[in-house]
Each structure stands twice: as C-alpha cells, then as structure tokens.
Amino acid sequence: MSRTRFRQGHCGQCQRSPVELLSETRAFFQGAIFQKHHYFSTLGSNNTSGGGDEQKETISVTFVSKDGEEIPIRVPIGTSMLEAAHQNDIELEGACEGSLACSTCHVIVMDMEHYNKLEEPSDEENDMLDLAFGLTETSRLGCQIIARPELDGIRLAIPAATRNFAVDGYVAKPH
C-alpha cells in the first residue's frame, strides 16, 4: 500500500514564525490536493491508524525522520511498521509494497532491547538488507516488523541516505 507522501511538519516543540506557518499552510493545502487520500485526522499523535473498524489494541511507536523529527504514533497489533508509517503520512518509501523485493522501507531500530525482541530476519529479508543504504547492526525492513505488545515503545529511525552515496547502491560497512 505505497502512497505518494506529502508529510507535514509535525512540530509541537519549535517556534515558528507566522510567515513560515503561512507558507507551510499553503503548501499543506496544495499537498492535500496533490495527495488524493490525505486524511486530516492522521495529524493527531495519539490517533489509532485509519484502517480497521474494530477497536484494536495498539502499541506506541516513534518514528524519527531523516531530519531528526520525532513522530509518535499508535500502531494496531498485527500491522507492519511500513503500513503504519503510510497510514500516518510518514515518509517511508515502500517501492515493492511489502513483498520483500526491495530495501526502501529500511528502518533502524534505535535501541538494542527492542531490536533483540524482534524475530530473526529471514534469508529473504537479509538478502534485501544487503542492499539497504546506510545499513547498521540494528537495521530491519519496516514491512517485516509487525506490531506486537512486546514492541511497545519501539523507536525507529528512517535513515538519511544522501551522504555516503555509493555508486554500487550500498555502503560497504564493517558489519
């Protein structure tokens, strides 16, 4: 369920000048037109993701964007991190739409405790991780991390890839 994303700054903390806000708002509305299925309600931080009708148990997940912005969301049990990101307009690519045929939903699990709670990646996932940009020791594919109660509080960083841009398509790293 890959969607073209136009994510709005989710900034409760920083001071913004009225001029910035005005441009941002104009851009916001143009973004809303640009993106056919933009749900205004998903800007709330304690929102259960748009999707199922039943009230599902959710866990708290925090995405950290390429710019360092923290985006806390709630994810229903059984939903993948990729789906959750898209449902909340978080800029996480998903070229192959969750079919283990690319590495664009690569996320970095920010603490070892949560990383260790994840099941070992399959051969197929490892094959795709081989190609991920900015691979780290706690990297996983977002489409393969499925929300479970034990993962409550997990923090996932979306890697910035424009530095270390390598011709071969991956960054060689001692690993």
Partner: protein, 487 residues
C-alpha cells in the same frame, strides 16, 4: 535544523511566489525519471513536470529489464503511475529526444531539463569474433524476452546447441541464466513475451556457463538472485572447488562487505551440497571463475557462427584500497557453445549538443548538474540542465539507487533555484507543455499521453487473462500506437 527547515519552506514557496510556474521536462520515464518527477512535484509546489519517453510505454527498465518471474519488483509501477496521474505531471510517450524534439528546443521550452534516459547500449568485450552470429548482448536478449519493441527481431537460435555461455556474473547474467534454465511451465504464467516463451519451449539448451574474470568473492550478483538460481528445481549446479579457495586479500574484501560475504557463503554451500555428477537429462549450471575471454571461435561447419569461447586463465592482483583486478596468466582453454550472451555492462548513448564522457559512458556532471564539457572544470555548468540515473552515475545499482540519485539531483536543482543561478531563465515564462505539444503536432509525432498508456495497459491485461498471464505485452510499435489511439 530550523535553518534547514526554513530553507526547505523557501524552496517550496519559491515556485508559488514566482509568477511563472517552474516548468520541468524530464527525458526518460524509468525509475530515475519518475523518482525525480515525484521529488520535484513535492518540493516545488506549483511546478509542472512533463516526462517524455521514446517508447509509447512508460517505466523504462521496470517494464523491459526486470525479469518476468520477478513481478513483485515491478510493484513500484503503482507508485510511479500515481505520480503520472498528478495534475501537475504529464507523461508523453513516443517522443524521442533527438528525432522528435532536440535538446536545445527542450531548453527553450522549459526552465529545467533533467536527462534520465539511462543506458541503451553495451560495453563491448573488444575481442576477435565478437560479430559472429550467435554472440548477443544480454541487454538485447532481455529486451527480447521482455517484449521490448526494439528487441522483437533478435530471434536468438536456441535450437542449434545444448550449451550457452554467459560472460559476466552480475544480476543480469543470472536473470538470463535463470530464464534459459527454468521449466517453461513456470515461465508460461508470467508476462514473458510470447515469442520468447515459444522459443524457450523449443530450446535445446541444457547447459549454461556463467563465466567471470575474477573469483567468487568478487562476483557482482546479489544474494536474492543467486539464491533463486541455485534453487531452480532439478538443476545440477557445479563450481570447481579450487575456485573457492580464498586469499587474505579476499578475506579483507569480505570483511568490508556483507554482500560479498553472503554471496561467497551461498556459492560455497552450493558447491559442496548436491551430487558431484548430473543425472541423465538434468539441466546444468556451471559457475566458471578466473577466466577472461580472449576470442570467440568460429564454427567449421557453419561459417560465420560462433562455436565456442577461447578463455584465458586469470589471477588476481591487488591495486590498492582493497580492490583486486584480473590479470591473464597466459594459459588458455576452449569452452564450446552455440550461443554467447555478453553481460558485462550497459552503456549510455550520447545525443547532439550534450557533453559526454566517452570513457566513463556518462554525461559529465557534479551532483547531477551537467558540466559544459569534459575538461573537468567544475565551475562551468550547463544552465538548467541536469542528469539523473544511469546517465549520471553509470549503469550500476538497483531501482532504489535512483531514489537517492533523484534526491541529490533535485537538491542541486533546488539550490540553484534558491541561489538565483537559474534566474535568467526563471525570470521569464516558458511555454512548457503547450509549446512542446504544438511543435510535436506540427511534426506529426503521435504522442501517447498517460491516458493512452492506460488503454494499452488495460488491453495487455485483458489479453493476458486469456492465457493465465498477468499481461500479454504488445510488442510492435504499430500495435501499441493502434491500441493507444483507439477510444
């Protein structure tokens, strides 16, 4: 960080504050083109982006390069089609840079031109016999089985021989090997071109050799493709055990590269698992390492046709920074075959009025900004001209590589806009889309807009459903234009 975000807001605002909407033309509708379009549309509100392609169909190598048995890799088409459907974006197929419209004309019509037309030619081996019949480039072979209009007349002879030699061990080489060796019943339910399926059903090829200049540690393929080819049903895999010996230099290379480590592990496991001899009638895949082609051998019975490859054994030599190259040892051997597929790399094609680095096979550029010439003078850029994808970086990487490539090129473009580098052009309105369509109409060019591609898409899917395939590709330009044009 606040400064960075303020800059971003400034870039977004620029195109709306300016009275002339930014008009961009992207040449090439593969991943590089579409990721660039998506990024520009998102970053520059008010911008208008037109994507042209010389084929009536969009998506570049996603449609004509990705193997038919890799449908999930093609899912990215859904994302690209949403970009094309954006109101500020237009796709125009059957418009060729050079013959339909020149680069200079595009630069007059648009504020910014981004060239993303990839690499449609081949590196040559450069050895005697290369023009013997039966020696093909893997690129053309892939075009052939993927139904590319320019590949349909390849007509490779798969019936005169039981042995195929593939030069190269990258993913394209593995794709070709897999298509030659997979049971055709498995291929029959993919979007493989019908003429290729028929030829493969009648093929007498039973043995495929994948020949690489260097060793298993240097093999250019990636794990998914290797795992897949090793897992083909009832296929005998062979690798010489001596080829699997690794040196300290090899270990150093593997220490620094997860991919190469895992590839080596897969190859070693495959070499030692399984029977030591093929059973009768079993298809065979041989990994041949440390061999470089010296010349192609001509058949005695069939003049003008290839009958084998004269190979030279190689050794590895370190050239610093962990890299090892192949050096000939002066020992030779022959490998008989009836067809050779060269899979040693693609190459970009230059166009008029475009600076081109013939040695590297790319347009000289710095972070996507086209340089005026090859002299390496980093201060002399072609105003408003950018590159992305293989034309910029060389023909390596995966679909996702273009995501980051586009980000870099669009960042350069955005910076140029912000710093006023493009002020001389952006000050003025440009005709853009309307101007382009007017010129093309005057020249009787049959433009295929996205809605017309959607007609082609629908028809291909309909034809495919009659044969239990996801689609039956329309192969000839005439057919494609006919369906595109019909109501």
């Amino acid at each position: 960080m606040a400064i960075f975000r303020a800059r971003r807001v400034l870039w977004r605002s620029f195109s709306t504050i300016s009275s002339h909407p930014l008009r961009v033309c992207i040449v090439g509708s593969g991943p590089a083109g579409f990721y660039t379009a998506e990024k520009i549309l998102k970053t520059h509100q008010g911008s208008q982006v037109d994507i042209i392609d010389r084929l009536p169909t969009p998506y570049g190598l996603v449609r004509s390069g990705v193997a038919p048995d890799h449908p999930e890799t093609k899912n990215v088409i859904n994302q690209f089609s949403r970009v094309a459907q954006n109101g500020r974006c237009s796709f125009f197929g059957n418009v060729a840079l050079g013959s339909s419209i020149s680069l200079v004309e595009l630069q007059e019509l648009y504020h910014v031109v981004v060239l993303a037309y990839g690499a449609e030619s081949d590196r040559v081996v450069g050895i005697p016999g290369e023009d013997l019949k039966g020696v093909h480039s893997a690129r053309e072979f892939v075009w052939w089985y993927n139904g590319h209009p320019d590949g349909r007349n390849l007509d490779p002879d798969l019936k005169n021989t039981d042995t195929a030699v593939i030069l190269g061990q990258g993913n394209v080489a593995l794709d070709v090997a897999r298509i030659l060796l997979r049971p055709t019943s498995e291929l029959a339910i993919t979007d493989i071109a019908s003429h290729a399926l028929t030829a493969l059903e009648q093929s007498s090829i039973r043995k495929v050799y994948l020949v690489g200049r260097r060793g298993p540690v240097q093999a250019a393929c990636t794990a998914k493709e290797l795992r897949e080819v090793l897992g083909i049903k009832d296929l005998y895999i062979h690798t010489k055990e001596t080829d699997l010996k690794i040196t300290p230099a090899d270990e150093e290379e593997m220490k620094n590269s997860r991919i190469h480590r895992r590839i080596y592990e897969l190859l070693s496991k495959a070499a030692t698992a399984g029977p030591s001899q093929p059973s009768s009638g079993q298809r065979e895949l041989h990994f041949v390492f440390f061999r470089q082609p010296d010349r192609f051998l001509e058949s005695y019975d069939r003049k003008g046709y290839v009958s084998g490859v004269h190979l030279e054994k190689t050794g590895l030599k370190g050239i610093g920074s962990g890299k090892q190259i192949a050096i000939g040892t002066g020992q030779f051997e022959n490998l008989s075959c009836g067809i050779v597929l060269k899979s040693i790399g693609y190459k970009s094609v230059p166009v008029d009025d475009l600076p081109f680095d013939n040695q590297k096979g790319v347009v000289p550029n710095v972070k996507g900004r086209v340089l005026s010439d090859n002299s390496g003078d980093p201060t002399s850029f072609e105003n408003g001209l950018y590159v992305c994808g293989w034309l910029k970086r060389g023909p390596t990487g995966i679909i996702a590589t273009n995501l980051y490539c586009a980000e870099e090129t669009v960042a350069s473009l955005s910076e140029d806009l912000e710093l006023g580098v493009l002020a001389s052009t952006t000050r003025l309105p440009k005709l853009g889309r309307d101007g382009l369509l007017q010129i093309l109409d005057n020249r009787n060019v049959r433009v295929v807009p996205f809605s017309a591609w959607e007609r082609i898409d629908k028809e291909e899917k309909r034809l495919g459903s009659l044969r239990n395939k996801p689609r039956e590709k329309l192969i000839s330009r005439e057919e494609l234009l006919k369906v595109a044009g019909s109501e």
